[in-house]
């Protein structure tokens, strides 16, 4: 049953899933790193990105527009959420931040369920990427290959924002020490708002890009959130490279294990996480002291 093409195709699947996880996790991790808030509604952001894109697609039949609208809508949602609620929680204990974002996540999921019902919705892949591609030794769905490319571009963009712009410099400085950034005369709250927006957008973007691969349901973000956590624990909280490495590792673990028995995918994922926690408690690329 474990044939060579089968393994390769699972490795590709793992790459696609891993790339998506990497993108979503980088959003989660830069928000946590900068603001110190773990956004439990991050999975819901992923889901809303998908639905916002779905609605856009319904009206315009353009996948590009769907991606743009989905990402922007989630970014806006993130900005509003930060301004209206999260901002009041910076000085409250971690537990309260977890509780409130958890509650918001439920509200989002239930709201979407109310509007779109629990039925699954489908966004077809763009015409350019439909069908399957002959890789010479096997056939593989074109869009999944495209996902890897699209997400790689998005990660590249995120990298440029974080490492090559003034804003990125401030964000990275904020991850190190947000109090210091504040005392340097930079309006750290505005930076927080932008970071929350960008982080949410990363999830939203992933949500709409993923929509043609897995059909949309209101609960789609829940599993993703759990996987994202594992990615962040493996990669190290607050580390952008860690999120990418962790994402790829997690994606491959899930895919390859699923080839043998999908039921063990999470067990293996968890085993990997435990191993990292035992060997390198701060994650593969994390640094001590960020909790």
């Amino acid at each position: 049953m474990i044939s060579w093409p089968n393994l390769v195709s699972q490795l590709f699947n793992g790459l696609a899933l891993g790339a998506l996880l990497a993108l979503i996790s980088s959003g989660l991790t830069i928000i946590y790193g900068t603001l110190g808030v773990l956004n439990l509604a991050h999975g819901a952001m992923f889901m809303i990105g998908g639905y916002a894109g779905f609605v856009t697609y319904q009206y315009t039949e353009s996948f590009i527009l769907a991606v743009i609208a989905g990402s922007l809508f989630v970014m806006l949602l993130g900005v509003v959420m930060e301004r209206v609620i999260i901002r009041h929680f910076y000085h409250r204990p971690h537990e309260d931040q977890l509780l409130v974002t958890f509650g918001l996540g439920i509200c989002f999921v239930e709201l979407v369920r109310l509007i779109f019902s629990s039925q699954s919705q489908l966004v077809p892949p763009p015409a350019l990427f439909q069908g399957i591609t002959n890789l010479g030794f096997m056939f593989y769905p074109t869009y999944r290959l495209a996902v890897v490319g699209i997400v790689a571009v998005a990660l590249g963009a995120l990298f440029i924002i974080l490492y090559r712009t003034r804003l990125g410099m401030i964000v990275r400085a904020g991850i190190e020490d947000s109090v210091m950034v504040d005392s340097l005369g930079i309006n750290v709250y505005r930076v927080f708002m932008i970071v929350f927006g960008i982080g949410a957008m990363a999830a939203g973007f992933a949500g709409i890009v993923n929509a043609p691969v897995v059909s949309l349901t209101p609960g789609i973000g829940d599993d993703i959130l759990v996987q994202t956590f594992v990615v962040v624990v493996i990669g190290g909280v607050g580390s952008f490279p860690g999120a990418i490495l962790g994402g790829l590792i997690a994606g491959e673990i899930i895919s390859v294990t699923s080839m043998f028995n999908p039921g063990y995918a999470y067990v293996m994922l968890f085993a990997a996480m435990t191993l990292v926690l035992v060997v390198r408690p701060h994650g593969l690329l994390g640094v001590p002291g960020r909790e």
Partner: protein
């Protein structure tokens, strides 16, 4: 609020549980709903000890709920086990054992890491139930046919079938559960759990093995979850696989927060609200699936505006209405009770009675942070009973030096010998247990607790050792605790403020309590990091007096910038500069030492220093 008349809460709970079947039907509660509320409430008792009391927010309790439930259900339906109560207990033990193993992993980290890891763990359990173990758990079908309990009393057999009859059994379980939970919360362990929630750093610095206590709380929560999971199967005559879902954990968290965390009854109240609203919104208002959205919004609003949940809100309201304004004012500064007369607290017994060398000896102590050398090659020794001062300009490495001595940070190289024993590389908790502790430069108090509770936490560490599972002992049952706390209160002159919350203390009082926390562990060697920092001149005079009285029969090392006060107190002074020992000597020698003057005044000696 849990500290009232003895057995008041227990009695009220019993009365409530007895009256419920007569009252609740009139309010529209079906017996089955009430039973479910009780199961959630029991599940939540353990969770509240973990979350409300210890401050560990786990999103993975479903793992233990499901484990306990399925073990019990499997025994009763597939393994031919007929004793329901026995099966429930075995399920509980299985859940507790699982909790212990999971706790070992999850508690490697704190804060959000802990929350994330628990989520991941719970998800694993869900998948394991569905796939690898589906032969035992029935997979997505669950385990039907869980029998109701019956007890053969010899002359008659009591059957608890369903509805209000089963209620009696579940209510009894809940009652026992609450009694045990109350005992735990009121025990020394309970006090330490609150201290961990409040300030884990200080809790370990006064000598408690906080990892052990956190693991204890985790196992307790798992045990409650396991028993409740078993009851769920009994209640429904069917063990549903969705006990393992993330929704179960989430619902528990939400119910606890809605009802009020840290109250034990919060989860029960939360479950009542939850299930009532669920019925009410779904059927009465015809909202259908939207009920969960409404609950979500209610929950978010509660978290935003009513941190203590419903019970917390009621307590606040009660306080407002009946205005308990018996706050004691900060004691007037002028009132200087005669220097605390009580004999100095017994410094604890010496480990090696034969040992007679210096009580503390550090050799070649060096600490590097990357390229920065904070301390380099410090040789330092203090004799039994000595009073030593350490001075040095800002950045001389004084605090780093102290942190190495108390083993808060490991030295890069060098050795520390305390009372003849090499303590290099030990943990701060162990060092404190050996009788070496310090008071912090920046207050590290348990701000959510009262003065007395603060000192109790510290004294418990000395009286009980770093870890002990006396879950069912009362605080008053700890021998010597009251005396030690009262004594420390008197020493630091806070007796009149004993029951004031720390957050209401004046700054000078907080500083004294900071010293008191270190003192209450009865150290043989006490390090004080800038005890006079930020005090008014008057407070300084008082504190110096306090330090003098403490010093009798004790060895102390004091860092401070107030040289006049320090020189008056200590017998010898060590001057640090740029991470090295510049010079050591009597206060007179230091005052006239040219190198010291240069260190402080930067090489212009002769002009200004003269």
């Amino acid at each position: 609020m849990l500290k009232q008349r003895p057995f008041l809460i227990e009695t009220l709970t019993a009365v409530g549980l007895i009256v419920a079947p007569f009252v609740l039907p009139h309010l529209g509660f079906a017996p089955n709903t009430v039973n479910r509320i009780l199961v959630w409430g029991l599940f939540g008792l353990g969770f509240d000890i973990l979350f409300g009391f210890t401050g560990l927010l786990s999103f993975g309790q479903s793992a233990f709920y499901g484990t306990g439930g399925f073990v019990a259900a499997y025994l009763l339906t597939r393994a031919g086990f007929s004793n329901v109560l026995g099966a429930l207990v075995i399920g509980m033990i299985a859940a507790a054992a699982t909790g212990y193993l999971i706790g070992l992993i999850a508690l490697r980290r704190t804060g959000i890491y802990f929350a994330m890891i628990t989520v991941a763990i719970a998800e694993v359990f869900f998948f394991v139930e569905f796939n690898p173990l589906s032969d035992f758990t029935g997979g997505e079908n669950g385990l039907p046919g869980v029998p109701a309990p019956s007890f053969n009393l010899g002359f008659t057999t009591i059957h608890f079938t369903d509805g209000w009859s089963l209620y009696q059994f579940i209510a009894l379980c809940y009652f026992i559960g609450i009694i045990i939970a109350l005992r735990i919360v009121r025990s020394p362990v309970g006090a330490i759990l609150s201290a961990i929630r409040d300030n884990p750093l200080r809790a370990s610095a006064v000598g408690h093995n906080i990892h052990g206590y956190k693991l204890t709380a985790f196992v307790i929560a798992a045990a409650y979850a396991g028993f409740a999971g078993g009851l769920l199967g009994v209640l429904q005559a069917f063990m549903p696989p969705d006990a393992f879902t993330f929704d179960t954990s989430g619902q528990l968290v939400m119910q606890t927060a809605i009802g009020g965390r840290g109250t034990l009854f919060g989860p029960l109240v939360g479950a009542t609200v939850w299930l009532f609203l669920q019925d009410f919104l779904q059927s009465a208002l015809g909202l259908g699936a939207a009920w969960k959205l409404v609950l979500g919004v209610v929950f978010v609003l509660l978290v935003c505006f009513l941190r203590g949940g419903i019970i917390g809100g009621l307590v606040d309201l009660y306080g407002l209405v009946f205005g308990k304004h018996k706050r004691t004012e900060a004691e007037p500064d002028a009132e200087v009770t005669q220097p605390p007369a009580p004999a100095p607290m017994q410094a604890r017994k010496v480990e090696h009675p034969a040992y007679s060398g210096p009580i503390l000896k550090a050799t070649g102590l060096t600490k590097r942070y990357g390229g920065l050398v904070a301390n380099s090659d410090i040789d330092f020794s203090v004799n039994q009973g000595e009073l030593r001062g350490i001075i040095g300009p800002n950045g001389a490495g004084k605090s780093t030096f102290f942190k190495m001595l108390t083993c808060e940070v490991p030295p890069t190289s060098g050795q520390i010998v305390f009372g003849g024993r090499d303590i290099t590389g030990l943990k701060v908790t162990e060092v404190c247990q050996l009788g070496l502790t310090k008071s912090y430069q920046v207050n590290q108090l348990f701000t959510g607790l009262t003065v007395r509770q603060n000192l109790t936490i510290a004294a418990l560490a000395e009286l009980r050792g770093k870890f002990r599972l006396d879950l069912f002992r009362t605080l008053s049952g700890v021998k010597g605790l009251t005396e030690q706390v009262e004594h420390t209160l008197a020493l630091v002159n806070l007796t009149r403020r004993a029951d004031t919350p720390v957050s209401e203390l004046a700054y000078g009082e907080k500083r004294r309590l900071e010293i008191g926390l270190a003192l209450a562990t009865s150290p043989r060697l006490l390090l004080l990091d800038e005890p006079l920092a930020g005090m008014s001149p008057r407070e300084r005079v008082e504190t110096v007096k306090l330090l003098k009285s403490i010093a009798r029969g004790r060895t102390m090392i004091i860092i401070d910038h107030d040289m006049d006060s320090l020189f008056e107190l200590v017998e010898r002074v060590t001057v640090l500069q740029e991470g090295r020992v510049l010079v050591s000597g009597t206060p007179e020698e230091i005052k006239t030492n040219a190198a010291v003057q240069e260190a402080y005044l930067g090489g212009v000696h002769g002009e200004i220093a003269a």
